[in-house]
Symmetry: none
Subunit: 69 residues, 3 copies
């Protein structure tokens, strides 16, 4: 066997699956919400950014752990 590499990157890769889909859902559905109520665009964008931050942080925790663990 000649296997190289770092298990931590597998951990990061797994941690990025959920946020990757989640952020896509937020912006995909969010763009549809803006198309329905263009006059509420600013408020809807704020909601999307909060959701984005709360979702993306799960992947960033994995990124930090890849260096810490």
């Amino acid at each position: 066997m000649d296997i190289e590499g770092n298990l931590n990157l597998i951990g990061y890769g797994l941690a990025a699956i959920g946020p990757g889909i989640g952020v896509g859902l937020i912006f995909g559905l969010g763009v549809q919400a803006i198309a329905r109520q263009p006059e509420a665009r600013g408020m809807l964008q704020g909601q999307m950014l909060i959701g984005f931050a709360l979702t993306e942080v799960l992947a960033l925790i994995g990124l930090v752990l890849a260096f810490v663990l």
Copy 2:
């Protein structure tokens, strides 16, 4: 073999898949609900935050376990 890394990070990564998708669903669909009923925004936001907290905690448990185990 020259493998490095920590299996705990793989565990965290798996634990983050579901919450990543789940929080994305809550905020994506929640933004659409707010666009449909903008006057009920405060109440809808409260529901979204409850759902977010209950979903995100699953990943944070994985984060704690990565250090405890």
Copy 3:
């Protein structure tokens, strides 16, 4: 057994799953939003590009980590 390879590529592959689906959701749902409000096309496109960048970066982090770790 004569198994070769680098675990880092498995990690990158996993990191590409979520953004792959997420960017697909953004552009798929975004195209529907533009079809509903063609006159708001420029603004909706801007939203889609922001979402795309924030999602794609998760896979690119995995690409960088494959060389760093």
